[in-house]
Amino acid sequence: MITNAILILLLPLAAFVVQISFGKRLPRKGDWLSTGAMFIALFMALSILVDAISTYESNKVLAAQTWEWFSFGSVHVTFGIVIDNLTAFMLFVVTLISALVHLYSIGYMHGDPRYSRYFAYLGLFSFSMLGLVLVDNFLGIYVFWELVGLSSYLLIGFWFEKDSASNAGKKAFITNRIGDVGMFAAIMILFSTFGTFDFDGVFAGVAAGGLSDGWLTAAGILLFFGAIGKSAQFPLHVWLPDAMEGPTPVSALIHAATMVAAGVYMVGRTFVLYSADALFFIAVIGTITAFMAATIAIVQKDIKRVLAYSTISQLGYMMVGLGTGGYTAGLMHLTTHAMFKALLFLGSGSVIHAVHSQEMDDMGGLRKKMPITFWTFLIATLALSGVPPLSGFFSKDAILASALEYGMRHSGQMWIFVIMLLSAGITAFYMFRLVYMTFFGEPADKKKYDHAHESPLTMTLPLMILAVFSIGTFSWGWFEHLISKPSLAAYGAVAAVAEHGGGHDDVAHTAHTIAMISSIVVALSGILLATTVYYWKKISAETWGSRLKPLYNLLWNKYYFDELYAATIISGTLWKSRFLAMFDLRVIDGVVNGVGRLTAGLSNVSGKVDLRVVDGLVNLVGRIVAYAGARLRTLQTGNVQSYLLMALFAVIILFVIQQF
């Protein structure tokens, strides 16, 4: 099984290496190679999943192996693979969606000038994501975490000729980095305390009470910062809607199903680490995210943006599930959401492919033109809205139940459930708004409508496969048994370490019943409202939009988050950069130039001294000699008699001197 896992990991990497090196020269530009590699990986993952399911033991570790990676001093850092039930499910989800997206992309990306590079990036992403779910230590998860971020950046900016696409790529990368700083700090806290990166080692250390409550909460919240960035939670959610600039299959794979769920997976994987306070923090962030994104999705007109905000909202749901102690609920929603959200994105891609527009105002009436897309899209919409008995119903209901149970056990925390329930209604509303505007009614643009056609089989086949998985693959109890909430007790926890709420008592039972009934009610009323407004057109959306103009503007401008960040952080950073640039230019350059100028000045003075004083002295000596010579030369008259006369006088003088 370890061999299988390694092969699953290496197949996409091999595909990436081959594609990036000589993809262009392969027949069909190598799409069959990448797609084939992913399908082989899918079948291997399927075999692992079948093993996991047939064993049917809670949180069973099916296989694990570690290798020494490097060591410094007495610290040995290992790199290992662990396959438990959660990993098996994640492997299956990632390989399935990745393989289907590969298949779909053959149709969608047909004729793109960088066709083989696109598949290379997909391979790199699949490798990174699979590595992320397979590794058994914090350092490894951080490495793959950054790798998925990199491939996400590459794919968002895939059409980098467009400024908006390259900017979106940068925005996604930088925003993610902000969260990653927190995650790195958390990993450093854990490593400096326990001296190991291994999940098991760290959890055992936590179970033994190696970290004080405050530090544990800090580590948990900081670790969650990574998830805030990667899973687009409030307040770092701003990058995900912009990430829709990437090709639509990429949005389905990375920005809906897998990478953005990595944050949820990471929180789930390290679940036992979180203190009660840290979990409450997660739940609050999740609640804010879910509600905020759902409300924004109501007014957006771009089909992919609606889905993007829906994704943010659903990720918020998963976080609430985890934060309120519904470990299984959160991870189950991850799995089900991956299926139907990937389906929704691929379906929207199919629509965009047909009408060559992302604006829902350009669509309408496409139901008859694109039956397969329509029906699969409808199934996914029903699943996302939480209509029984589709998969989304079970997972969302479980999260709502978990939130309600949390509210019943902690006084004053009922608001989480209320807001989440409201968001569920909003979710149903905006999804059916999307369906009605796209597939029902009169065609808004006759020319585009006439041009529209059903997509080729490579694109519709993935839709149909995903539709099957969206309908209802998992029953709640079965999933809960396989992936049940881990507890610190498994790591030999002392009694003092608190358990994370929840359980199978009457409270839980009541909560489940209430949550189930209320979630069905709000989902149906959301659908009913959407039908009234957008199908029967009994209520005019325009009228209400203008009546609630300030609210509409607030939502249309996405609560002004981008503007807020532009005004504060971005302009602040720019201001700081400009200040530093000016400092550099004026002060540092000034000092350097000053030193230069000072040296030049000193040299000048020294040169002058040399020229005037030293040379002057030398010249003076010369001039004195020349002057003396000029004066003395007159003595040499050339007249022999005058010489003689002088000699005579000299003799007389000598004579006189001798006399005295």
């Binding site: 003395l632 007159t634 040499q636 008259t637 050339g638 003689l644 005579l648």
Partner: protein, 102 residues
């Protein structure tokens, strides 16, 4: 009156002064040479006088003979120089022979 050493010395001094005067003042190179002869002969008178009155052997008189011979040789050389000077300047005026002037 007895002619003594002092008379000879006075004569020699007068003769030397006349010769020096001629050497220093005359423009004509030949006249200057004649002055030089006077100076030499003044010296000769001194030699002979001292040889007669102070030292009675013949040393001073022999030197006087040498001086006469040397003076003849010097005069010959000097006259040759004067001839060359004339060849060059077409004159034997010593004031014109100042090509060594600084």
């Amino acid at each position: 009156m007895e002619v003594g050493l002092n008379h000879y010395l006075a004569l020699a001094a007068i003769l030397f002064s006349l010769g020096l005067f001629a050497v220093v003042t005359k423009k004509n190179a030949v006249t200057v040479l004649m002055g030089v002869e006077l100076i030499l002969n003044a010296a000769n008178i001194n030699f002979v006088a001292f040889a007669r009155f102070i030292d009675t052997d013949l040393d001073g008189q022999i030197i006087a003979v040498f001086v006469i011979v040397t003076a003849a040789a010097a005069a010959a050389v000097a006259l040759a120089i004067v001839l060359n000077l004339y060849e060059r300047l077409k004159s034997i005026n010593l004031d014109e022979a100042d090509s060594l002037a600084g």
